[in-house]
Structure formats: structure tokens, C-alpha cells
Subunit: 617 residues, 2 copies
Amino acid sequence: MPLYDITYEPHAKTTRVPEGTSLFSGAHWIGLPIESSCGGRGTCGKCKVKIEGEAEVTDADHRELQQSEIDEGWRLSCKQLVSRDTVCFVPELMRKPKAATMGLHRMVVLEPNVVRVNLKLDEPTIEVPRDDMERLREALHTEGYGLDPDDVETLRMVPPRIADRTEVVAIMCGEHLIDIEPTDAPDLAYGVAIDLGTTTVVATVMDLGTGMAVGVASGLNRQAQFGGDVISRIAHSMKGAGELEELRSTGVATVQTILDEAIAEAGVDHDHVYEIVLVGNSTMLHLLMGIDAKQIAVSPFSPVWREALDLRAADVGLRIHPRGRLAFLPALGAYVGADIVAGLVATGIAREPRCRLFIDVGTNGEIALGTGERTVATAAPAGPAFEGAQLKCGMRAADGAIEQVILGETIELKVIGDIEPVGLCGSGLIDAVAQLRLAGLLNAGGRMLSREAAEAAGHPLADHIINVEDALAFRLHGDIYLSQRDIRELQFAKAAVATGIRSLMEEADVKAEDLEEVLLAGSFGSYINPESAVIIGVVPSVNIDRIVAAGNAAGEGAKMTLLSFRERQIANELPTRVEYLELSAVPGFNDNFVTATMFPELEDIPFVAERMKHRTG
Amino acid sequence: MPLYDITYEPHAKTTRVPEGTSLFSGAHWIGLPIESSCGGRGTCGKCKVKIEGEAEVTDADHRELQQSEIDEGWRLSCKQLVSRDTVCFVPELMRKPKAATMGLHRMVVLEPNVVRVNLKLDEPTIEVPRDDMERLREALHTEGYGLDPDDVETLRMVPPRIADRTEVVAIMCGEHLIDIEPTDAPDLAYGVAIDLGTTTVVATVMDLGTGMAVGVASGLNRQAQFGGDVISRIAHSMKGAGELEELRSTGVATVQTILDEAIAEAGVDHDHVYEIVLVGNSTMLHLLMGIDAKQIAVSPFSPVWREALDLRAADVGLRIHPRGRLAFLPALGAYVGADIVAGLVATGIAREPRCRLFIDVGTNGEIALGTGERTVATAAPAGPAFEGAQLKCGMRAADGAIEQVILGETIELKVIGDIEPVGLCGSGLIDAVAQLRLAGLLNAGGRMLSREAAEAAGHPLADHIINVEDALAFRLHGDIYLSQRDIRELQFAKAAVATGIRSLMEEADVKAEDLEEVLLAGSFGSYINPESAVIIGVVPSVNIDRIVAAGNAAGEGAKMTLLSFRERQIANELPTRVEYLELSAVPGFNDNFVTATMFPELEDIPFVAERMKHRTG
């Protein structure tokens, strides 16, 4: 698809967009708000910009603008689709919009999808006996909204609410009429951002009037009883319709419980919660709706759907306002789901003219690379090693987990909860392996030095090298050790992620030194030692200060898209902007994977080489 | 709105349509089929016509036609909207469509809203891992259909049905995907036309492949226990939410029972019944859905909605295919409902270049007048007199009801069921009154001749004039008599209808002699003696051979719109074509009404005057 530059004056900001993008939408991508109250539907007439040179006149222009304005080059930016490089002048905003920094340093304009719209209703007369739906439709139309008549519940709901009234407030969620209230009803509107993780679920109630979080709750996903990761849950769902329903109802119950807690903490009424934005990986979303997910697990890995969905929350079994909506962000692929799309929104990957890499590692590594020109994304099947599970002495990141390891003359451990260590979690594993590499106890092929060799070299930690079940292991503390097999598991896991990163970098022709930022999302990103990540080679060899923890990017993205229709639109457009790479279809994948199981040579890592030079020098 | 002539060559048929009507739609109005498989959505490319002179080129033209065709003047008729008098050439139909005469001599082309569409699905590959919805959407798009993704049930339904298949059959109802079947599934599709009357409900199962009725059932509307007419049912519904729900559930149960009987008679499976077209008056439709109908009963008589609805049958509580649809035709006003719209479709009023009057009399008289140029409609509150109820010796048209009366030297009666008479039904009442007029026993003001005066004049029936409760009455048989008060009731009822007719005729500047046809719909129309109708003045004074019984026009219209998307489109457009007159808002209504309570002078009725001349001459 051809790309064109749009320059917005007087800001002198330029963005490159695919053909057919609207000038209005292009401005969102660079965080430049253009006036609008209809959200880009061509009905409010507020988003006009003045275009340099020829520009098509649309029906909406004729409807909303004066002929003199059209002659001067003014057009509605939401209806003006780019087919050449374009320069346009954006008027100053009529009002100062509420905005807040969210996600990763991103300025979000508070313009939620949910709005309270004041309506003036014409009274029916004996000469013109307008029916209720017609009166409501005309009043909504004046405000730039439509009304779907084909909904029995709306037909039941409307008459008592507009009876004998000439002014009411419509609660609109996008194009959907949610409710009608009297004009003296309290001015309340809430939404909930939900991050439905395979392990953990977080719900945040947001005040859509102020943009503030007013209640948060989290808890474990109770579907875990049917399997810890997505593949085991899909396997359970494939046993039969009963099992799929079991996963569905458990998922819905989990989300509802946490939703209820968050709403209770916020001290608001369910009837004032009008919208949920829910993000999660594709499997979680399939199972939450009771949709057959087995194709996610088998080649060619095609989910049932990937596009953004806008549903009734009640249709999925979630209780907020009885007519409240549930929005799912779109997915890019079977393993790059709505959670990653939310993460891309939160971090601005695909939108900023910088070369950045986004990595979210769990049992799958989801990776996106944005160059400013292109964004490519993929998923790498890392397996459970990074989560500390399935290691000999592994555990999840919980109290008692070794999360940091420093090997010097002795062994220094940092333990979650500052208690006696119980096992090794993911970040501790990565630290331990990186430290073994630095300590000269592990070669690039992943082989541990034998105790004899270590003793012969006079290594101070030689006596930690032990033999367990006929294989070498490194004792960290008491009977907690790292086995040769654990290291192999880590090698496979990091090789998958590294191969994914390499494939994206090759696809986009990016070298490690081009990377301006490497974003590590999720708890993995928050706890991992960036140096260790580079030393084991799961992250390309960049300056450590370019490695940044992105926090719960998925949850932030959910909140941002809840608070801003502009961010929602960006999220929904991401599938057309991001190129998805199916890793197993990349030529040379297997060879690359085998190569990537090797650890980098220490002298090839600049900051390590530097230190070694100092030490030897 | 400006009107323009469209002439279709080589048929040399011309129709006058409002600005903005499509050439495709205009052809429906005169029963001229233009090729189409997409129903006028601009996607099949089959409805091309060649236009004389300049014609706009639409996006659909560019998409579906060759440039050489466009240069020659070919355009898709469904997207070509009229803005001037237009002449176009219509190609001969590629196939001979199935067609049948239905309604009142109307040729209906069998092209139901429900179609079985063969789809070829692309297989997902590892390189292009299309998701299920995408594969389905692309296959549907090829056939000219869209797919709404925002429906949880569709997402659940699709994957198992398209798994491992590259060819399937989609059951489409309009734009809605109802089901997906394997290609070897039986080629079955049924629909049901339902006429939901205040008193009687009729359901007809139609084979949408052959156009034949395959099962019929009828029964009484069990809502009658809450009130015999619409006003008393609305009054019941206004007692509270429980009463409204009572009416709703009783209405749904009535319809479902009769629907089930018709389906059983047809010997088909509910799962093969994909659509219902239901017609009824506005009150019946409101109550069937549990929608507050009180505004129908009070000025300014505005219902909750009037437009056509396209719902899920299940949302209204009706069971056919679980995803089957329920279509309501639109209403013109609170008292000119979907049943009358169906009647207009069945009779072709509003479409034919003839001056015709349509009258459907029950407790309300619904009247439409079409001149070929304009169609005007109104409703007149006739009350129950025409139905025989509330008369001293009245009864509904059932066994024992006197349905015909001839007064000569003696009294001749025709009784339903040929049994001993029990009472007088509506048609008997009208006959009796007309015969009293002819017999000289009743004056134009509605006063009965006294027995003394009749005896003085030597009238052979003088001894039938009796005194009941201090008022005159005419004894028909045994203790069955017609009272002076009954005659007053009839005067009010016929005055309402006659005033409605007069208002329409004045509005459209039509005189009685201009009327080419007077259609009497429903059982009233089938049983009433046309001469009697003219003599009492409920029908304008026209030649008797111009008065035609139209049968169950509502039910016929329901069937026609079930079998033909073209007829459906006409029905749905009728509200924009028919001018609705609110009778109580017509200036001089009260004076006209009082005048209309008078019976016509016999010498003013040509056929009576003629006979009187013969007799006296």
C-alpha cells in the first residue's frame, strides 16, 4: 500500500500514513488532537482543516460546511482520505481538552467513547403525530448520532423514559444508545479497563468524566485449574462442549468477581458503568466467550476472529449497566493478541519516528519492532522457562523466590519477601545463568564447567558445582540448584525469543545499533536485570540505558482506549498498520533457532567487553 | 418532494416516483422484474439497465461494470437514483423467474428474502493464517453479502460449521447470516406469514423454494380475555407492568401455538423455518413485544415506532430456527398499521394508475385512497357496531347469526349455519337497515316509522314494528329485533367511516364518479352486501360492480412480502409514499361527522333511483 506524508500546520508535525487514512485519524497517530465531538463520523462538523492545493469535496463537507469555507479549502478532516502527500492547517482547539500522561509517556486526550448527550425532543402534535423513535432519532441526529431501530429492548426502554419530556440526556457508547436519563440525573459515567491475563486478571474502574482511576481489583484467573498456560487450556476445551463451557463460565465468573470488587472499591453503581475495554491474549478472549479455540493450537494457527469487537457486555455474561458495552481490541495473530495491541498503543510503537523494539515475554514471547516507517510483529513459543515453572527448583515470582543472583567470591541472592529462599523464579534464573557466564563457569554452548576444572582453575565457587542425577548443577543456596537441564530449557526459551527478534530485525533491515529503545513489558520486564538479558542473549546487544521496563503496557493500553476514542481508533487500525510475521513460516527459521540457542560471546557484548578490558587492563 | 417519470423500455411501462427512488425500486412498483440476486444492494452487478442521456457513474458501477459498458450508458439500476424524468432500457431476464398471482391479481416474482448461498472458503495457510471470520467474510463478499462481526453467537456458531470445509452453504436472511450448512444438506427453506388480528390469528407456512403454502393454522387471539378491542387491551396494559407482561406473554403464546400447528401441518422442522413476516395493527405489535402502547390511545395518537423492523424472532420469544428473523412491516399511523400496509401491497393501491378506494372495517375503519398520483390514508373510529357486538340482539358472525336480510311482503333471512337464528351480525345489521330504508320504514335521519303510520300506509311489515323499553324496534324473527338505538349506533359507526372517506376524497380531489374500484377488505368486505353498504352510505355511491371484496388482504400482503424481497421493499417504502391524514385534525371534522350520520336520500343513489323509476314507471 502506498504511504503518504501528512503535515499538520502550524505545528509542523508530519506523519506517514497508508493511502486512504483520514487526515483526522492521521493526527491521532502523532497525538495531535483535532476538534471533534462525533468521533470522526462526519456529523459534528467540528474537525475542519484547511488543505493546501486541490481536495475532494465530500457529501459531509457539503452538509456541514459553508460553500465559502469549501472554496477556501476547508474540509472535514475525518472524511478527507489521503491519496497524496498533504499539508493542512489545523485550527486551534476551541476548548482546552483534558489530557493526561498515560502508558509510556503518552499524552492522552480525555474523550471517552461513552458520552452523555443532551437532547431536545420535539413534541408530537395532532398534525404531525411523530412516534417516539422518530422524535428520539431526530434529536440524536441533530447531535450527530444515529439510532438502530431493530432492537426490541430499545423499543421497550424508550417510551417510559421520554414520556412527557422535551429534554433528556442520552448515554451513548459509540453508536449505541445505552440509556436515557432525565436532565437532573447525576452526571456520572464510568468505564472499566480489564486486563484478562492467563494467570492474573486486573480490573480498573475509570471515571470517564475526570479520567481518574477510582477503583482497582485483581485476582488469579480461576481457569488455571484447567491448565496453567494457553495450550493446556485449549487442550481442556477440546475434550468436549462441557469443558469449553466450563472454561467459559469460570472465566466469566473470574472477571465478574474482580469487576464487582473494583466497582465496589470505587463506590459506584453498576448501572453507571457503561463500557468495558477488555484486553487479553486471543485464547483468553475465545474462552471467555465460549468460542472454539482449537485452531489457535494447531498449524496454521488461525483464530476464529482477530478484528475489534463491540458487543453487549450482557451477551458475554458480564454485568455492568444492563445495556452496557464490551469492547475487545483487535488481535494481530493467533499469538499476538489484543493485549499486545494495547501494549503498542501504550508505548506508541508503530506511531513514533524512532526505532524501537517491544518485547513481552511469558510462555510466549510477543515481539514488535517499529522503525517509524514500518512496524512488524511476531510471536515466539518460549515455553514456561521464563516464568520459573518446570525448572528443577523453579517457582513463580512469589515470596521466597530468588529474583536476583550475583556471583562474586561468594553468592549474593535477593529473595522476594526477604525470607529464606524457596526456589528460583524467571528473573533469578536469567541472572544466575548470566552470572555463570560472567564467572566463566558456563560456556557459550551452555555447558557448565566441571567441578574438577573449576577447582583446577581455582574458582572461588567451584564447590557449588555439584552432581544431581548424573548431570552437573550449580547449587545456589541450601538444596536450591540450577541444573544443566534448566540451562538447556532457558536456552530453548531465549532462542525462540531471540529468533523472533532477529527475524523482525532482518525483515525491517534493522541492526542492534539502530535500536533506540528496547521495551520490556509485563512483570518479566519489570524484574529482569537488563544486563543479564543481554548477556544471555534474549535481548539484542544494546547499551543498557536503552533497555526500559514498560510496566503493564496491556493494562495501560486498555485504560487509554477506554478514555479516548482517538486511542481506540488507533488500536482498531493497528492490524492494518502492523505486519504480522508467522515465525514458523520464515525461511531458515530452524537454523536460526539452533544458532540462537548459543549464548553470545562475552567479548561481543560491548559493555561486558569494556569491563573485561578494564579488569585485565 | 418532486416526482419524476421513469419509462422502462422495451416494455414502454412508465411510473411516477419521488426524487431519489432507484430505477430498480421504481420497476418493483409496476411489477416489472429487473435481474438481481443481491436484492438491490449494489453487489451482484446483475441489475444493469441502459440509460438514455447523461447518468451519474456510481462507485458500484465502477466496481461491477466494464468501462465500455459505462461508456455505452449501462448503470446498476439499484444505485441509480432518479433526479429527472428518465428513460432506460431493461435487458430481458436471464432466467424465467418463478412467479405467481397473489393478493388481488398481482404477479409476484418468487425471490424471497431468505436465500441459500453457496460459498467457497479459502483455506488458511501458514503464510496467510486467515481467521475463520475473515474467510467467511471474504466468501460472503464474493457473493455480495456482508458479515456483522459484533455478535457473540455468530462467533460461537461459525468455527465448528466451517472447520475443514472449503465449500458450505450460508443461509442468509437479508443481510443476516442465519446458519451455515454442509453442501449436502437438504435444500429446504421455509418462512411463515402471520396475520395477528385483534380477534383471529392466522399463520401460513410457505415453501420459499416453490412459493407454495404448505401449512396453515388459525385460532383466536387469547389476549381477548383482557379486552375485546384494542382500546380495552391498551387500558388493561396501563394497569401496570404485570398487565403489560400478561398481554405480551399471552400474545406470544397465542402466536407460537398457531405457528407450531402450521409448522406441524406442513410437516417441516422448526430449524428450517428461517423467517416470519408478521402483520397486525400497531397495538397488536406493541403488545406482542411488551411495549407501552398507551400513547396509541390518547391524543395525539403517536405509537412508539412506525418503521419496518427486522428482529431476531427469539428476541420476541418466537421459536423458529434459533437465529431466524422476524420482520414487521411498517405502519402509517397509530391506527393504520402494518396490516393495512400489507393490504396496500396485496391490492396494489399506491402503485396502479387507477383511482381506487380501500376500506378495511373493524372496530376501526382503515381507509386508503390511491389516484395513481397520490395515495392518502386515514383511520376512522367506527366502534363495535359493524362487528355486531353491543347491539341489543347482536352477535359476532358465527353460527346462528343473521347475515342477510331481505324485506318484501315478508321477511327473508339468511342465517350462518342454516340454523334457527340467534342474533344479528354486522352484515345482517347493515342489510336490515338498508332494507328498512328501501321499505320506507326508516327516514334519512334514522327515525323508524311508527307502527300506526306504517299500518295507516298499509305497509305489509307494519306489525313487525314493536315497542321495546319505550323505544321503537323492528322485529326480525322471534325475539330478535333491531332497536332504534342499534340504528343510532350504526349511524355513528358509518358516519365515522364515511367522514374518513370524504376527507380523503376531498384531500385528493376525487369525486365518487372518479372511483374505478372500491375494495372492501377483511370479513366485513366478504360478507357485506355492496348494495346495502351504498344505501346506508358507508361506501360512496358508485356502481355496484365497482365494489369488490378484497379478502384477507393483510394476510396476502404478508405472504407476498415473505416470498418477494421486491414486495418487501415496496411495503417498507410505503410510509414515504402514502400521506397519512389524522382525521381529528381535519378542519370541519365534527360538522362533517354530524352530517354523515344521515343516510343518503334514496333518489340520490343512481341504482336505487333507477329501480324506483322502473317500479313507479
